[in-house]
């Protein structure tokens, strides 16, 4: 069709795309600055130049080396990665399920993780959870709890996917299955808690307070691989998600295999979430709210929404975690308490202000 060969690109379009790219780049820069700040701040103040030297792999003052390398850096990186992973998974879920409430929490994955952890504590004799928070008791078998939480998360997503395969992968089927399974796992956790002794009950409740301080370098490594691969997958599918936004029929007519994109997207999002939840516990609202904030600021184009959602999640969780560490010093709040306090009013504000997709 040679008729379509001589169009002139509107002059404003290049500037418009440039603004979106700048927004994403700005978030990346903000994330980098926050990382330096988060590692620098704490009971012992580490000078920013020492942090930058450590991040660049250069020699640092031996007084700070252990604080940076063993405590603050894995802690901050865990916050960055968990925030990015949860927000990107939330953005993908909202898009493929065409539901603004799509998030790891609304699809029952977090509740499943909590049940898995409670099950391990009570019946598999995993003992209690470790945490940087005050009053944490030492641990008998941390990996058993993590594995049980991961298994429960993945089982939930597999059940949702199986039901979706049986009944057609429509957004309604997937969301409602998630809600039903979430309730079931909440009931299961309550059942276990009712019969638990004091120490077990404390461990179960403690696990549900999502805390990035639980992660060591090994966990950070796992999360880095999962989040990087997942984010790359979501970004590779950006045009598929844009097409699904235009309606399932339109997407199919553009060559998108809608059910397949939906299924694979759910599997990847669930996998990222399961890894994060099983390592760190339940961290609510990041996955729900970051995609909404980003969509309000830069629109619904997934070329920009996906990287921006990931980066905004990283920024939000790292900032929240830094505040949570400092606000009641020397006590350290689990970050999930703060994200829930921040997230709920922010979400209501977005709703009142107008359009939430």
């Amino acid at each position: 069709m040679s008729h379509l060969n001589h169009g002139h690109i509107p002059s404003g379009y290049t500037a418009y795309v440039g603004r979106k790219v700048s927004f994403v780049a700005g978030l990346a820069l903000l994330g980098a600055l926050l990382l330096v700040m988060a590692v620098s701040l704490g009971a012992v103040r580490v000078p920013a130049d020492q942090v930058v030297r450590a991040l660049a792999g250069l020699e640092t003052d031996p007084r700070f080396q252990i604080i940076i390398r063993s405590i603050r850096l894995p802690h901050a990186l865990a916050a960055l990665l968990a925030g990015a992973g949860l927000a990107a998974a939330g953005a993908a879920m909202q898009s493929i399920l065409r539901n603004p409430l799509g998030s790891p929490f609304t699809l029952g994955l977090s509740q499943a993780g909590a049940f898995g952890a409670a099950f391990a504590v009570m019946l598999l004799d995993a003992g209690t959870m470790q945490s940087t928070a005050v009053g944490a008791v030492t641990i008998a078998n941390p990996y058993l709890t993590t594995l049980a939480a991961f298994a429960a998360c993945m089982a939930t997503s597999l059940v949702i996917i199986a039901i979706a395969r049986l009944r057609g992968a429509t957004p309604e089927v997937m969301v409602l299955s998630g809600v039903a399974l979430g309730s079931l796992f909440s009931a299961g956790t309550m059942f276990l808690q009712y019969f638990a002794d004091d120490v077990q009950l404390a461990a179960m409740v403690f696990w549900t307070f999502g805390d990035v301080g639980r992660a060591g370098w090994r966990e950070v490594g796992f999360m880095a691989v999962a989040v990087a691969l997942g984010l790359a997958y979501f970004i590779a599918n950006r045009w598929n998600y844009n097409a699904i936004d235009a309606g399932d029929e339109t997407a199919r007519s553009l060559g998108v295999r809608v059910e397949r994109v939906r299924m694979l997207g759910m599997i990847v999002a669930s996998l990222i979430t399961a890894i994060i939840v099983s390592f760190l516990g339940v961290i609510g609202f990041v996955g729900l709210i970051c995609p909404h904030i980003v969509r309000r600021l830069i629109g619904d184009d997934h070329r920009f929404v996906m990287p921006a959602a990931g980066l905004s999640g990283a920024v939000l969780l790292l900032a929240s975690d830094t505040v949570a560490r400092l606000i009641l010093a020397p006590h350290v709040l689990p970050v999930a308490v703060l994200t829930a306090f921040l997230g709920a009013p922010t979400f209501l504000y977005l709703l009142i202000r107008g359009r939430v997709r």
């Binding site: 008729h3 169009g7 629109g299």
Partner: protein, 256 residues
């Protein structure tokens, strides 16, 4: 250009919705699929677009069997404008750019951008290029969807009730646009429609479907009152006005 032969379509557990249905279409022609609600018009479009596989029969475009193609290959031959289009917060330019998806590699090329600009120009949407589509009127959004289907560079356009929910001015504008681009690009277009008078004014040929089969077909001037009565169960008069065929219900079958 497009050939539909002996199509049989049925949903799970039910009888056939379409039975041995067939027609063909040449380049530069616009065809209206007409018939009452629930007769299978949309099912037929979905079948042509390979969204539904028929139990029997074939659909070919330029002698290539549609069902033997991959989904992206189909999207390069068939452009589909759905009846319900959803509009997120995205500019007109980006919404139309989505139509280049079947041709796109990892990056959007200059060629993609130029084709989108040209399609916007052809549909008179240049001034709306940077406007968000969720703030648009129904007529403007419909044009955006047609532009999106056009940049797919298809050979055949399929439009599912393109004028439903549009006012009179927009109905005429949209159908005029479809006819113009079909003639200019030597495409073929198949539209499902309810409004007989609009269809007769803008299409080259019509097909009436009744009980899943082609009941009658012809050029607009060949329509007659018996066909309409048999398909819709309504008595009409066929009038000629300023070179146009007009179908007017005559009220003889009403309770009034």
């Amino acid at each position: 250009m497009l050939s539909v032969r002996d199509i049989q379509v049925g949903y799970n557990g039910s009888g056939l919705v379409l039975k041995n249905l067939g027609f063909s279409l040449e380049a530069g022609e616009v065809l209206a699929i007409l018939g009452p609600n629930g007769v299978g018009k949309t099912t037929l479009l979905r079948c042509i677009n390979a969204m539904i596989r028929p139990r029997a029969g074939s659909v070919t475009i330029e002698k290539t069997d549609v069902f033997s193609l991959r989904s992206d290959q189909i999207a390069r031959r068939l452009g589909y404008v759905a009846q319900n289009n959803e509009a997120g917060r995205m500019t007109t330019f980006d919404a139309v750019l989505l139509g280049r998806k079947p041709h796109m590699g990892w990056k959007v090329s200059h060629e993609d951008l130029h084709k989108v600009s040209a399609a916007l120009h052809q549909l008179g949407l240049d001034h709306l290029a940077l406007r968000d589509i969720n703030a648009m009127s129904g007529g403007e959004l419909q044009k955006v969807c047609i532009a999106r289907a056009l940049v797919q560079e298809p050979r055949v356009l399929l439009l599912d009730e393109p004028t439903s929910s549009l006012d009179l001015k927009n109905q005429i504008e949209i159908l005029g646009t479809v006819r113009r681009v079909v003639k200019e690009h030597r495409l073929a277009a198949v539209m499902t429609m309810h409004d007989l008078n609009l269809a007769l004014r803008f299409v080259d040929r019509f097909v009436f479907i009744k009980q899943g089969e082609v009941f009658a077909w012809g050029r607009p001037e060949e329509i007659n009152a018996e066909m309409v009565a048999a398909v819709y169960g309504v008595q009409v008069d066929i009038l000629r006005h300023a070179g146009q065929v007009v179908v007017v219900p005559n009220g003889r079958d009403s309770d009034r």
